[in-house]
Point group: C2
Chain length 342, copies 2
């Protein structure tokens, strides 16, 4: 582990944009590619934050992602569009899709935009924050390379496909839920192995698909979907909305960017926006959400030291702190970004 | 337990419609109210099947549900509508909402219809089947009275709010996922108690919100959401789409039909329909879904005797058997329906 340093948000953005520009990208495309990663880092989602900047850059260098990829938007109906990402960065493609959806929802009250020929698009919660700040409800999803067996299976054929639900709440943090489909991340299983501890039942299966509490067997096997058959089914539902519906790859058709970094991923995403002003009305929705927040936040906690929070509340607090005080990141990560741009 | 008898689908429908008509409902409204319950029963979802017919009838009798409730559809945009259910049966309201969405999606490629002033609407999977048989993707949800604490809480403030994802698959069973937000149903905890067994970790918390494997403590406490904070967040997201967005009640605002059967529930639902023909195209989507199904169904199973299935596959098989051979139901349930229609 290297030293941790505190870096202002603007500086981290500048360094990251410079790196992508050094790989042949325009300033505008680099800016669109970088912001979701910086936002993810600000919110404390380090796995989808600054660490992805050199990872994207390496794929840009070997052509796995196209620095000059053209993003094409095709409007299919007043509330429907398909985006062909042209193998640009997934973050730039998702940004373009969300911006298209924001234009469409303002006109027709609802918009669904699907993406194909895309790549990893960072965490979904930054897109959710952007949508709620414009006053809309967002449901967004992306597919991913396979890491889990479908329920009852013994081979990885479904992805950890995250989904994000975002709803505006005035006068406090917004409702921002961003969740992947596995019970736990692989990192937590590695941590248990290092600590010499068993993992809880339900986290993983071994390489034969049998439940295990042994971290070594789990790491040779597969993550389990949350809620068993429920998370397995939901991963597939998200894949249909991201992949099959938009002409992107899905399930085992998605190549792994770890195993094949030079191959286009052809990932798919979707963004659905709804305007509460066109349904129950802006004021009534705002009042309802204030009541909603109050009911959740005043729930008696199981542990008096741990008050009940709204999804995404902590992430938005971290983001404000990062904007005010900068972000704590590994020094060698910043050095790597500078060196790659070199 | 009474005897089980086999009853033809048409006869079960006829008896149920007669009962609702005897409570003051028109033949057309009774027909719209009954079919989702019969479909649920056919698919083997007995908790949302024929057993609900006398339950609805008792609420009709005491005015908890209005046998003459007027359902009003308000189109807010080419792809948006709000349905005021007028405290009719939730099944008739949801049917009207889905029919409205089916009309709108045929014109504009996407439709979102929200419902308020509604009641229990049965299982969601019958609506999903109806949508996919018309060639559309459906995402539907309903809220419900509170049964779980939000994550970290020690008081029931969120419901088991189910969601259904449905996608058409030609030449076999469709993709029909219908799932509630708890890890397990209360019935399974009662079964463990009867058998003198512990329940798995993660199923429930005690009345102080502490994790428990003791079925007695669990039954005094609360069900746990699937995936912990994930299911807790998703229950809230569904409640926003069903309740806050449409002007229905949500969270603790929903009265329990067990505790207050005479009070209108003011539940909310939503139905989102998408036309694949307006996105990637009908033929390309059909081919993609055939490939999707094949990848899932050919997954090597963990247990060779338990092949991997698509969500909803078993339910559709059961439904075909019920249509061909009738449904096995408790004899005293049929007697109760006949007696109430008196």
């Amino acid at each position: 582990m290297s030293q941790t340093i505190t870096i202002p948000v603007d500086e981290a953005t500048r360094l990251s944009v410079d790196l992508f520009v050094s790989q042949g990208m325009s300033e505008a495309d680099a800016t669109a590619s970088v912001w979701p990663l910086i936002d993810g880092e600000m919110m404390g989602i380090a796995t989808h934050g600054l660490i992805r900047v050199p990872a994207y850059a390496k794929r840009l260098r070997i052509g796995g992602i196209d620095a000059k990829g053209k993003i094409a938007v095709e409007r299919r109906a007043p509330s429907l569009a398909l985006v062909d990402g042209g193998n640009a960065t997934g973050t730039a493609i998702a940004t373009r899709a969300l911006d298209t959806a924001l234009e469409m929802v303002a006109e027709s009250g609802i918009a669904f935009v699907g993406c194909r020929h895309s790549n990893h698009c960072g965490a979904l919660i930054p897109y959710g924050l952007k949508a709620v700040e414009a006053g809309y409800i967002m449901v967004g999803g992306t597919n991913a390379s396979t890491t889990m067996p479908p329920w009852g299976g013994a081979e990885a054929r479904i992805g950890n496909n995250p989904i994000c639900f975002a709803a505006p709440v005035e006068g406090g943090e917004h409702f921002l839920l961003d969740m992947a489909m596995s019970v736990a991340a692989r990192g937590k299983i590695r941590a248990a192995q290092t600590a010499g501890e068993k993992i809880p039942a339900g986290w993983a299966v071994d390489d034969q698909g049998r439940p295990t509490t042994d971290p070594a067997a789990a790491l040779k096997g597969f993550l389990s979907p949350m809620g068993g058959h429920k998370g397995s089914g939901m991963s597939q539902a998200i894949d249909i909305l991201c992949g099959a519906l938009n002409g992107a790859q899905f399930l085992t058709g998605i190549s792994s960017w770890l195993d094949d970094p030079q191959a286009p991923s052809n990932l798919g995403h979707f963004f659905l926006l709804l305007d509460p002003g066109r349904l129950i009305g802006k004021k009534a929705f705002s009042e309802a959400m204030a009541r909603f927040r109050n009911i959740i936040l005043t729930t008696p906690p199981a542990d008096p030291k741990q008050p009940v929070m709204l999804p995404g509340q902590r992430e938005q607090q971290r983001r404000r702190q990062a904007i005010a005080n900068g972000m704590a990141v590994p020094e060698d990560l910043v050095d790597e970004i500078k060196a790659l741009a070199g």
